[in-house]
């Protein structure tokens, strides 16, 4: 039985689950819904959660499964294209929103979001697990339910594409 409370689970996982959802869905409204669905499922299943497991990995798996169920919907795919991420609407947690934030930084963020939108959702999600959580390939493979070779290919493809797209913006 788990001793983890709902509040503790949310404190430990919400921001990162939201980031994963945002990178999967590509827009804030769907990320909001997806994260809420995933966290509510996780909270309702807390009794079955084993304390020795990593709650973040567990919530990631629930988020990924919920997203896979959503992408079956054609209407959802169509909507996703209409509402891209607004780079000015959110900051990385390490930054404070301030009037001093320079135009350059905003432009940089816009370029970054535009470059990310050119990547496959699964590739972006794999980057989240590797770059933001520092997960090993074997753990990413278990979380995403794919072979390790797929993790390796996705990471290479994502980084190479991101590098290419960012260079394109830098040259423009």
């Amino acid at each position: 039985m788990s001793k983890l409370s709902a509040e503790e689970l949310v404190r430990l996982t919400l921001d990162r689950a939201y980031t994963l959802a945002l990178r999967l869905t590509g827009n804030e409204a769907d990320a909001w819904d997806l994260t809420q669905d995933a966290l509510l499922k996780a909270i309702s299943g807390l009794d079955g959660f084993r304390d020795e497991a990593d709650p973040r990995t567990w919530v990631y798996r629930i988020t990924l499964n919920a997203w896979k169920n959503q992408v079956g919907s054609r209407l959802w795919k169509w909507w996703r294209r209409l509402a891209p991420i607004d780079p000015a609407s959110g900051d990385p947690p390490s930054r404070e929103d301030s009037p001093e934030r320079s135009l350059d930084a905003k432009e940089r963020a816009r370029e970054f979001e535009a470059a990310l939108s050119g990547l496959d959702p699964e590739d972006r999600a794999t980057l989240v697990l590797r770059e933001l959580d520092g997960m090993r390939y074997a753990d990413i493979a278990r979380t995403m339910d794919v072979p390790i070779g797929t993790v390796k290919s996705r990471l290479y493809r994502a980084r190479a594409a991101l590098a290419r797209l960012l260079e394109k913006y830098d040259d423009a």
Binding site: T19, Y137, K152, L166
Partner: protein, 127 residues
């Protein structure tokens, strides 16, 4: 020059996910290949940029909705009574429109049914 390593290995090299033997092979190749050193640097920059900029803090409204088990505030009607009223008005409008245009609606319905039936017949006869 020929590249003795696969492109994906450069990315795995960056993550420290290669076996010691493969890592030694990549090290050797990198010493001799400026092109692969540039590619590695470019992958490293993309990784660093993602680490620096990809994370987002969840909106406070989401935290409250999850902990309260409440539906999304922006999408929810302002109150159950407001929602019931809006639904009642919509039903009345639909009934009114239906009554007003009853002959036209049934005419359009008959035409659509005739078209569907004709299409089904032509499919059935192989035309």
């Amino acid at each position: 020059m020929t590249h003795e390593i696969e492109a994906e290995e450069l990315s795995a090299y960056l993550d420290g996910e290669l076996t010691p033997k493969k890592k030694a092979g990549v090290d050797r190749h990198l010493e001799a290949c400026a092109e692969c050193r540039d590619r590695l640097e470019s992958l490293r920059k993309a990784s660093a940029r993602f680490r620096a900029e990809a994370a987002r803090k969840a909106p406070e409204s989401l935290r409250e909705a999850v902990l309260g088990g409440a539906p999304k505030a922006e999408a929810a009607p302002s109150s159950p009574l407001g929602f019931a009223l809006a639904l009642a008005v919509l039903l009345l409008v639909l009934l009114g429109v239906g009554k007003l245009f009853k002959p036209q609606i049934s005419q359009v319905f008959n035409q659509v049914m005739a078209m569907v039936s004709g299409a089904a017949q032509s499919v059935g006869s192989g035309n």
